[in-house]
Structure formats: C-alpha cells, structure tokens
C-alpha cells in the first residue's frame, strides 16, 4: 500500500520532467530531423534524402562559415576564461561580506537588460561617432574619427561581454569552495603564487572552468544578435545562416540540416573539451 502510494508520488514527480523532455526537447528535434532529411523537388513536393547535408559539404561558404563560427566561439571562450578567472578569483578569494555581494551584483547588473540593449550599448561605444572615438579625438590621441564597429574584434568584444557572467558564476562557486588553508598550505610549503595557481587553484577550479567554458562556448556558438549587429558586413555567423535559411529563403529543409550540424558541432567540441581536461560531464555539471 505504502509502496504503491510512494510509487505514484515518484511518477507524479517524474511526470513534469518527462513531459518537458518529450514535448520541448525530443519531439521538436525529431521534427527538425524529419524536415532536414526531406528534399524539395517542386512546389509542395518532397522526397526523403540527405541532399541538404550534401549541400552543406558541397558549398564551401557553408562549411567555412561553420568553421569560422566554431573557431571564433572557441577563441571567445578562451578570452572569457582569461578575463573571467581573475575577476572570479578576486570575488571569491580576496573579498568578504558586503564587498563580495556588491561585486557579484555588479557583474550581474548588465544582465538585467536584454541582450539587444546591451549590444546597442556597445554599438554606441564603438561606432565612428561613438563615445570611445570621440574620447580619443578629444584626448588628441587620434586625428579623425575611428571606426571600431563592424569587424571581428567588435564581435569578439561583444561575445566576451555577453557571456562573461556565465564564466564568472561557476568559477566563483568552485573557487569559493576552495579552502583558503589549501592556498596557505601551498605558501607554507614553499610554493610561489604561480605554482600555487597552477598546482592547487586551477586543478581545484577545473570543474568550474570546464562548465563555464561549456556554457560560454554554447552561448557564443548559438549567439545571433551580437555577431550580426556588431559584425556588420563581415558578420558571417552560422546561426545567422540558419536564420536566413528559415526566414528569408523559406528553406526550412536546409535550415534544419544546418541546425542539426550545429548541434553535432557543439556536442563534439564539448566532448573534446571534456576529454582534454579529463573531466566528466556528470562531475562538471554536478559540482556547480
């Protein structure tokens, strides 16, 4: 009797997650996959086949954009880590109490407005008639207006800015859990700041680093607004390409195939990252 009710309770608790998984994750992906393997042969006529995937590999533009997106996302992830780690270390280890909360909050404040607004903010700063250009001219450092928008650097700045919080939060969490006495023990045993960072702090923070990197990489890879708005005429980004296929080209079939390829790419890079850092997904996601 008791076991019956407890089993019922178990299924009732399980139901929402199962429903969520099936309705919002599995079914759409099945649908997307079915669309991706239909080839259009004429108006309202479709055949099953892998022509859409073939189109991707036969058109250099597609896979070059794909590779460019992946490489820039990895670069953005690395930059975010390099910038985020000192910030997280400072927040987690060198501040206490209210200062810590304030700093943490300051990291989060930009995320109270939408991504679009933040991106426009960067456009105001970087554009030719923008804040930085004017400041440089005012200070006499440059002679004419400087255009800092519409290039890969601007995309990178935007991507790093957009995702840095998602690097800082898991890092702060893992670094917070690092007992200060471990660092002191390192110094006590003759370690230098560098060797302690390398041998004690970074190995300890590894799950945070990996989970932060996974999240940032996924966010960058899937980002649409930032590369399009900040990159201007050179903004080739794979998500933009998917959008174009779906919306302006009405080519859902190719768009779906692109979507699946992006899914495969992100899974592959995450897998490779985990292998390289010798972390397991369960450990990484479970700890933070």
């Amino acid at each position: 009797m008791t076991s019956d009710t407890s089993r019922l309770g178990f299924y009732l608790l399980l139901a929402p997650i199962l429903l969520w998984l099936t309705v919002l994750i599995i079914l759409p992906h099945i649908g997307l996959f079915i669309v991706s393997i239909s080839e259009k042969v004429g108006p309202r006529e479709y055949e099953t086949g892998f022509a859409n995937y073939a189109a991707f590999f036969n058109e250099p533009l597609y896979w070059r954009t794909f590779a460019r997106t992946a490489i820039m996302s990895i670069l953005a992830t690395v930059l975010t880590l390099i910038l985020g780690f000192p910030i997280a270390y400072y927040i987690a280890k060198l501040t206490r109490g209210r200062t810590k909360t304030t700093l943490f909050l300051m990291c989060m404040i930009p995320f109270w407005v939408s991504e679009l607004v933040r991106t426009f903010g960067w456009m105001i700063l970087l554009r030719e008639t923008g804040v930085i250009s004017n400041a440089l001219q005012y200070l006499g450092l440059v002679n004419g207006p400087v255009e800092m928008l519409y290039n890969d650097t601007a995309i990178m700045v935007g991507l790093v800015y957009t995702s840095i919080l998602f690097m800082v939060v898991p890092l702060v969490t893992t670094l917070d859990s690092l007992d200060d006495s471990l660092i002191e023990a390192g110094y006590d045993l003759g370690g230098t700041s560098t060797s302690i960072m390398r041998e004690i702090v970074i190995p300890h923070a590894m799950p945070g680093i990996v989970s932060g990197c996974i999240v940032v990489f996924m966010l960058s890879l899937g980002n649409y607004l930032t590369p399009i708005l900040l990159g201007g005429k050179d903004s080739l980004w794979f998500t933009g390409m998917i959008y174009t296929q779906f919306i302006t080209r009405f080519n859902w079939e190719l768009g779906s195939a692109f979507g699946f390829l992006l899914l495969a790419l992100s899974s592959l890079v995450v897998f490779a990252g985990l292998k390289l850092s010798r972390q397991s997904l369960t450990e990484t996601m479970g700890r933070t």
Binding site: P43, R44, R127, L236, T248, R249, N251
Partner: protein, 353 residues
C-alpha cells in the same frame, strides 16, 4: 473632415449592425499600418477587438508557414510575395470580393494587385499601402549619388550602406542597364544577371560601412553622418528630411523600386468578418490618410491623399516628379524558386572579402 468622419462612422455602424457578433482580429502587419487611433475607432464602431503583430515580408510568410496559415486573421505581405507563397505552402485563402467595398480602392491598383496575386484562378490579395525603395542621400556631401551604382563611387567610400537583400540585387541590375524583372521567368537569364550584379557588389564591398538590417539602424547611421548615401525606403528618407533638410529620398535614375503591401486572408484565419470589416474600414479616405500620416506611405484608397499632411506631400513631390513616377519599377510576382538563386548570390557576396 469631422463631419464626414461622423457620417462614415454612421455608415459603417449601419453596415456592421447586421454582423452577428464581435470578434478578435489578429492582424499581422508592418509597423505604422495600424495606428492606435485607428484601432480605437474601429473597436468603438464595430465592437471587434484588434491584436496587432508587426513583422516584415519574410517573417510573415515564415510565421504563417509554421502554422499552415493559422494564428492570424489578416496579413499584409507585399503583392509580389503572394502567388509564389501560395503555390509553395498554401497559406492563404481567396478574397471574397462580394464582401469588399471595391469602390474604396483606386481601380487601377486593385486590378493590378488582383492580377499579380492570382493563383489557379483565385484572387488572393487587395492593395493597401504602396511605396518605393531607392536612395536616401545626404545631398550636402554626396550630391553626386543619383543612381544605385553611384554608391560604389570612390567619393563615398566607407560611408555607404545598403541591405543585403533582393531589392539591392534588383536595383543594381537596373542601374547596370539590365532588366531583371523581364528575366523573372527565365532562370538562366536571371542567373547571368545575378552573376553580373554579384561581381559589382563584391567589388563594391570595401565602399560599404555595413549592411543595414532594420529601418532604425539605417536612420541612425544617416543621422549621425557615418553614412552619407544608402539604398533605403522612401519613408525613411522623408522622416530624416524632417530633422535634417540635407538628407532626403532620391528616386534613382534607373528607377525606384515600387512595392505594394496588400491584404491577404491566412488560410486558417477564424475572424473573417472582422478582417473584411477592417479592410473596408481602413480604406475609407479619412482613415487611409491617418495611416499615411503615421506610416509615411500613400495608400490605394480613393482620395486617400486628401487628408495627408502638407509636409509629407511636399517631400513626396520633391522626390518624385512625373518622370520619376513613370519610371518606378513595380515588383512583379516572384516566381517560386527564384529566391534560392538570389540567396546563393547574396551568401557569396556576404562571404567575399
């Protein structure tokens, strides 16, 4: 004006009194085409309620395709995007002309749109708002830009912007002395035109500051002076002209590209009564003028320009003399499959260095 408004209110009220009951009209349209004032008046008179979703051509079709023509009761794509979309996806239903007050429409535009939006003998579209795209230029600095290809001139290097969309391809083609609309039905001929335009636009790329995407973006670029010459919509140029008399819309020598936004009935729309009420309501001259004043574009309503404010009329006349009006290249319906060719060309231009 007030009296005629009241009288028209009475007419519409009388008309709609027979209607069974109030409905909710889910309207998929462009920004500015359904001003709040107009909605309030419509709701007060008919008892229907209106929910507006603003969008653009591609997204309208994508949205309707996603739901097989459901989710909206009235949509407003451009007339060249009706027949092909209907052929491909079957997302519209034919217009019941018996329920439309045809006297409100300028006859030539009504028949042109009808013929352009006919698929398998049925008419799918009614004209509403029309306008053109051409050049928006800061005449003080870039007065020499009078045609699309002038955007590639060295004098405006780095200060040019246009969209990476099909109007750009077509505008440049005309400016290069080609006739893309004539080649619409000949894929090979069209492809060779696209190839020439591709070479031109690829060579022109260093001149471009950025490819703009939204109307606000190009207006900001022009207003700040970062861009001095661009390919854009007439309304944008006229709006900027109000702030800065140097900036205005210029009808290109090769001809402005004319578009007509229409009324179409989504295949699975539920509130047909409200949709026809809306059409008949907004095509009244007074209402049409209100819409022109907010959207900036003229409508296909008979006498719709009577109530338009004088500034807008002046700007319109400043940009278009009779020759320029005659030279407008009206978009014919896009044959299915053409956009795939254009898409590939645009992708290659985008990727070129």
């Amino acid at each position: 004006m007030k009296i005629s408004l009241v009288s028209s209110v009475a007419i519409v009220a009388a008309l709609t009194a027979q209607m069974a009951q109030a409905e909710t009209l889910r309207l998929l349209t462009w920004g500015g085409y359904a001003p709040q004032e107009v909605i309030d008046m419509f709701e007060a008179q008919t008892g229907h309620t209106v929910e507006v979703t603003t969008s653009n051509n591609e997204e309208m079709i994508a949205k309707l395709r996603a739901t097989n023509g459901g989710g909206f009761d009235l949509a407003q794509p451009s007339q060249d995007r009706i027949a092909s979309a209907q052929e491909e996806f079957g997302i519209y239903k034919p217009i019941d002309m018996s329920r439309v007050n045809a006297d409100l429409f300028i006859p030539s535009m009504l028949s042109a749109t009808a013929s352009n939006s006919t698929y398998e003998g049925e008419v799918y579209g009614l004209p509403h708002v029309w306008g053109t795209s051409g050049l928006v230029v800061n005449t003080a600095v870039a007065g020499n830009v009078t045609d699309y290809t002038d955007l590639c001139d060295a004098s405006v290097a780095g200060q040019v912007s246009y969209r990476l969309k099909r109007p750009t391809l077509i505008g440049f083609a005309y400016s290069m002395g080609l006739d893309p609309f004539a080649a619409y039905d000949d894929a090979e001929a069209y492809q060779s035109i696209l190839d020439e335009v591709e070479a031109m636009l690829t060579a022109c790329k260093p001149n471009v500051k950025t490819y703009w995407d939204g109307g606000d973006e190009i207006k900001n670029l022009l207003r700040s002076g970062e861009v001095v010459a661009s390919m854009a919509w007439d309304t944008g140029g006229w709006q900027l002209n109000a702030d800065n008399p140097d900036i205005t819309f210029v009808a290109p020598e090769a001809g402005a590209l004319g578009w007509i936004d229409t009324f179409v009935m989504p295949a699975r729309g539920r509130a047909d009564d409200a949709a026809y009420d809306w059409i008949n309501f907004v095509m009244q001259p007074e209402i049409a003028a209100m819409i022109t004043n907010t959207a900036g574009n003229f409508t296909a309503a008979v006498d719709g320009d009577a109530g338009v404010n004088a500034d807008l009329k002046a700007r319109y006349q400043g940009s278009f003399d009779q020759a320029a009006i005659d030279n407008i290249k009206w978009y014919p319906p896009v044959p299915a499959g053409l956009e795939a060719l254009e898409g590939a060309t645009l992708d290659r231009i985008n990727a070129a260095n």
